[in-house]
């Protein structure tokens, strides 16, 4: 019994990481209907940025994250403003193919800059710290922080959406980009800011990814797929849905891994496909699209 409870707890905590992967993807799809095939590679890029800041300035991982946040915001802003804005329109091919091209560029660029070796962000003793829950159950401090951060990020983004003028502009642009321009909203700038914010969340995701496990330039596409699965399971347009989607994916993977370690990823995919067949619009779809 405790075994299954433990699986459920560990899976839920893993889901926090997947939710962090997914929030950025969900955010930019919600605002500009852009599906970014380079999203996973941008997570890995952020992890390498944090690593590079740590090694070149000799700072600890948290300080490196703080420095990396504005850097990643700028990366997202410029990427969107200069290039991706040109691809938006009725045709879905240009954004898909351009971001696919970026995926390949980022992967190989990182390999050129950092080699194909596995890396890790070291956070000291907290990496292995855990809290005993009694009954032989324990949760790691870092996994717990990951989940709490995901929840915190969602609260912060919802506050932005519903309380700030910028958030209203995001929602208005998402509803009707043409009319939004008549409100003095510069779509190009709004989209660039949205991508910048998505990259901030991405950097936070990369921070937890890099502390939790090894990473190398090739692991981006798999992160994109987890993020995508979490978004679809949760239903488009709802960040809380995305969190639930991440948790379902995390639990499914943990159950799979428990049965046979080689089945971890497959179990997650199967859970995704089953939910897609049963609930094509996800568990918590937005009322209108």
């Amino acid at each position: 019994m405790n075994g299954w409870l433990n699986i459920l707890i560990q899976g839920t905590l893993l889901g926090g990481l997947y939710a962090l992967f997914a929030i950025g993807l969900s955010l930019i799809f919600g605002i500009m209907r852009l599906v970014n095939l380079a999203h996973g590679d941008l997570i890995v890029l952020a992890a390498f940025v944090i690593l590079a800041v740590m090694t070149s300035f000799g700072v600890d991982v948290l300080t490196a994250l703080a420095i990396s946040l504005p850097v990643m915001f700028a990366v997202g802003f410029v990427l969107q403003y200069v290039i991706l804005n040109r691809t938006l329109g009725r045709d879905i091919l240009p954004p898909l193919l351009v971001t696919f091209g970026f995926s390949i560029i980022i992967q190989n660029g990182l390999q050129e800059a950092f080699s194909a070796d596995s890396q890790r962000l070291s956070a000291g003793a907290i990496e292995t710290a855990s809290i005993q829950l009694g009954g032989g159950l324990a949760v790691g401090v870092m996994p717990l922080l990951t989940l709490l951060t995901a929840i915190g990020v969602i609260f912060a983004l919802n506050a932005l959406f519903y309380w700030a003028p910028l958030g209203r502009a995001f929602r208005a642009t998402s509803d009707d980009p043409m009319t939004a321009q008549l409100m003095g909203i510069d779509n190009r700038r709004i989209f660039a800011i949205a991508m910048g914010i998505a990259m901030i969340v991405t950097a936070i995701a990369a921070f937890y990814l890099g502390i939790r496990a090894n990473f190398d330039p090739s692991i981006g596409p798999a992160r994109l797929i987890y993020a995508f699965e979490a978004v679809i399971i949760g239903g488009l347009g709802s960040l809380w849905g995305t969190l639930i989607g991440g948790i379902i994916l995390g639990v499914a993977q943990t159950i799979g891994a428990h049965i046979n370690p080689e089945w971890q990823i497959l179990a997650g995919h199967v859970a995704f496909l089953v939910i897609l067949l049963l609930r094509p619009r996800g568990l918590f779809p937005r009322a209108f699209d």
Partner: protein
């Protein structure tokens, strides 16, 4: 100098030419009515002015400056706001948020704010936290007008604000116009409904197949003259 002028304004949708050299003038504080049948080019005229359809710089002159080439957001910031045809409220925003977003690009220094809009259209205050999609057509039109006013524009453009509304609602909405004009805002009303437009206008333009078929003071024309300019029948 006129506040807003179009000079030989032309407009195209790919191969299709919608406007063929349109000249209009709007003086500060005036109300201008633009009438015409479906497809006469009225909406294209507004799309050009608001920057949704960019053109040559000097084809549209606002306050002495060329704006024909500017993007929509920039033109709005200079003080031209549009009440779009079909209202185009933001469905995921509440009534009050729709009004607030109207002031995103510009607040201006005029009298219009949330409280001002609610005193102009008291019914909106009761519905301030409802989703804009739950409102009646007339109420939605009030939100659309209020949203445009929130930026305290120097020129308010109204595209077919009576379309699809009951006559009694249309009357309510047109009753707001004098108060809007009283704040010094110049107004351009585009309508298919000739009667309403004529009542409030200082100056009238009739569009026909992308050209101006009649221009002048509404009082100067007979019913027949307007009828012919509108439908293009020969006298």
């Amino acid at each position: 100098m006129s506040l807003l002028e179009t000079r030989d304004l032309t407009a195209h949708y790919r191969d299709f030419q919608a406007l063929f050299g349109v000249n209009t003038r709007l003086e500060e504080g005036d109300t201008l009515a633009v009438i015409g049948a479906n497809g006469a080019g009225k909406s294209t005229y507004l799309r050009s002015i608001t920057g949704l359809l960019p053109g040559a710089p000097w084809s549209i002159v606002f306050n002495g400056e060329p704006i024909g080439h500017l993007p929509a957001a920039e033109i709005m910031k200079r003080g031209i706001a549009l009440v779009p045809e079909g209202r185009r409220l933001f469905p995921s925003l509440t009534v009050e948020e729709n009004l607030q977003v109207g002031a995103y690009g510009r607040t201006g220094d005029g009298a219009w704010n949330i409280a001002g809009i609610y005193s102009l259209f008291p019914r909106l205050k009761e519905r301030r936290h409802q989703a804009s999609t739950t409102l009646s057509g007339g109420e939605q039109q009030m939100v659309a007008i209020g949203r445009a006013l929130m930026s305290n524009p120097r020129v308010l453009l109204c595209d077919e604000i009576s379309l699809g509304l009951a006559p009694i609602i249309i009357r309510d909405i047109y009753q707001a116009l004098p108060r809007i004009k009283a704040t010094g805002t110049s107004v351009v009303i585009v309508e298919q409904d000739i009667q309403q437009a004529m009542k409030v206008a200082d100056r009238l333009y009739c569009f026909q197949k992308g050209r101006i078929s009649l221009a002048g003071s509404p009082a100067a024309f007979s019913r027949d003259e307007i009828h012919h300019a509108y439908f293009g029948t020969r006298q």
